[in-house]
Amino acid sequence: MADFFLGAVPLILLFPLVGAATIALFGPYVQRSASAFIGCLSIGLSFLLTVGTSFVIFPLSPAQQTLYTHSKFVGYWAHLPPDLIIGFRLLIDPLSLLWMLIITGVGLLIHVYSVSYMASDKNYRTFFAYMNLFVFTMLLLVMADNFLWLLVGWGGVGLASYLLIGFYYDRPVAVLAARKALIMNVIGDVGIMLAMFLMYAHVGSVSYQNVFGHVATIGTSALTWIGVWLLLGAVAKSAQLPLQTWLPDAMEGPTPVSALIHAATMVTAGVYLIARAHPIYDNAPAAAELVAVVGGVTALFAATIGCVQYDIKRVLAYSTMSQIGYMMLAVGAGAFAAGAFHFMTHAFFKALLFMSAGIVIHALGGEQDIRKMGGLATRLPFAYWTFLVGAVAIAGIFPFAGFFSKDAIIDAVLKLHHPYLFVFTVVAAGLTAFYMFRLVFLTFLTGAYRGDHEVHAETERTMTVPVAILAVLSLIGGWIVLPHHDELSFLLRSTFADAPFPQSMADFNGWLSFGVLLIALAGIAFAWVAYQWRPQIAAALHRSLGGVHALLTNAYYFDTIYHWLFEWPVLALAQWLRDAFEVDAVDALPALALRAGAYFGSLSNRWETGYLRRYGLTFVVGAALLLFIYLFVAHGATAGAAP
């Protein structure tokens, strides 16, 4: 059995690719439901194989847990340096297995959810082809055993994200958002490439084994730069400061896409990258500290913005950004297991939140503005209770999943002795509880329904079952790390065995947990006061803090700053070049060439008389000339030498 699952590891990667190709090639010839079935089936098979592989790998001893598939296509590629040999083989270790479990597991739930959610869309088949493509590239990203194939997967998820954000391609906003996401992701791709160049320059290889095995020989300065460039890639993919502006716009995509790509999996690729490259950050403290600072600042930054947004999906997007900030902070602090833990729980409760919100949006015919909701708890009880579970989990209330993972991170930050970051995380924890319950109150409670759409009932079984499963997971998902019984870091121990920071999350700091829990409860209480008990308090705050409110509503004017800093100069330059250069200089040259060609053409046209004999004369003169040149000019010396 073990041999079967280990031999079938490539199939985990292959099934989604085959699914995507099948839907793309044969989708138009089969029923709509058939392509949805293929999409779900391929992910389901991948999930089953991943689970089986997990049961094989996790019980092994740490030395045996890292497994490489047989390398295919190893060899020398003509366009690579001859000493750079890059094979295609897959890496299975506890870290990649954890990610694969989430990608295929949550991916399967979201695929099933999409069967009903996207049912009325005209590009139903295309959607499943794209989603399968995404799962394939994401699996490639986490299963790669070197940075080059990681980058292939990295670019692939960027492509899938681009395609799915722009899925409603008849909306100009969606197209612009897709383009923005792609551009920002490509900035990150360049960062990873630069890191790979540095690795090649110092180690002569880009495979994990070689690079991490020779970390000691690279030197701190180069190692720090590698870490910084990798961080650039992670920042772009995970929507951290300062490349965060694409994520809120990415909510233009369908809600299952937001749940799978822009909450549960793809945006956590940055966390995976840092955790995977932990030997580099272990030996480059400056780069690691930069990771932590970026994560901590983003966690607080995004949480403040989340407090004032009115689009339900945008609030969730900022909350995602903030939670990934927590993960980055954890991996930057060296607590890789804690980061991976929060990734797991976050995938559960954030996918749950998005899918519950999706039920609401679906029921309201596409409405996303929470000012036009309210009082939906009685009409959509299932969405209300599941959303409430997600909100409680993300707020970090005991005993839901978020409590354990967030607590592990805050605990790690406390050990880091970095007071600002510690304060940031604690404040962000309170703000998280506040804006999530602001969302709960404004959407489901707070008086009567304020919108004008008809509210449809929530009956689709394929939508409610995945949401219910995720709700259960959001409750129990954190119990894998109980005090004095830390299963997760035990499972991940082989990957992070050489990390200097203690990975175990078992030493429970009771007072700290209690304090953070109190802060979260305070956030909930404030949300209740301001939006449920005395709504005039929120209105009064709104009036008195108008400037701050505008600042937050516009996300600290990052889009405006980037517009004037990067977009406007390029556009202005292009406009100027068009007006000043293109007409006079660029267009004039071809026109000149045209006129010259016409002139010489008219000259040679005179030779073209149509008279056969004149052609013959020209021919004879030319032949005689050529013969003369051949005999007496070109070969003059040898011909003259002959007797």
């Binding site: 073209e608 008389t609 149509g610 008279y611 004999r613 013959g616 004879v620």
Partner: protein, 102 residues
């Protein structure tokens, strides 16, 4: 019996060829022009055969034979064209046939 040097044959071939060339350029009657072309073919054949004898190599003679057959084909087609031109117009002066001008 003294042998004739190769050069004499080649010179004769060149002279006959140039006679054909000048005839082609001077005459306007397409039939006469064709005959000038036949002169050129034969001048070439003479050179081939002279070389074949000089190098004791039959390839020259075989090539001359092939030239004869190709010349026959050329003459047949060219005369067919001339016949068609004569059918379309009473006068077949080649200087009148310049409609192919570019």
């Amino acid at each position: 019996m003294p042998q004739v040097p190769l050069n004499l044959y080649l010179e004769l071939s060149a002279v006959l060829f140039i006679i054909g060339v000048i005839g082609f350029l001077l005459r306007r009657n397409p039939i006469t022009m064709l005959m000038a072309i036949e002169l050129m073919w034969n001048a070439g054949n003479l050179a081939f055969i002279a070389f074949a004898r000089n190098f004791i190599d039959m390839s020259g003679q075989v090539f001359a034979f092939l030239v004869i057959t190709v010349a026959a084909a050329e003459a047949a087609i060219a005369l067919a064209i001339v016949v068609m031109v004569f059918r379309r117009r009473e006068n077949a002066d080649v200087d009148d046939i310049s409609v192919m001008r570019g």
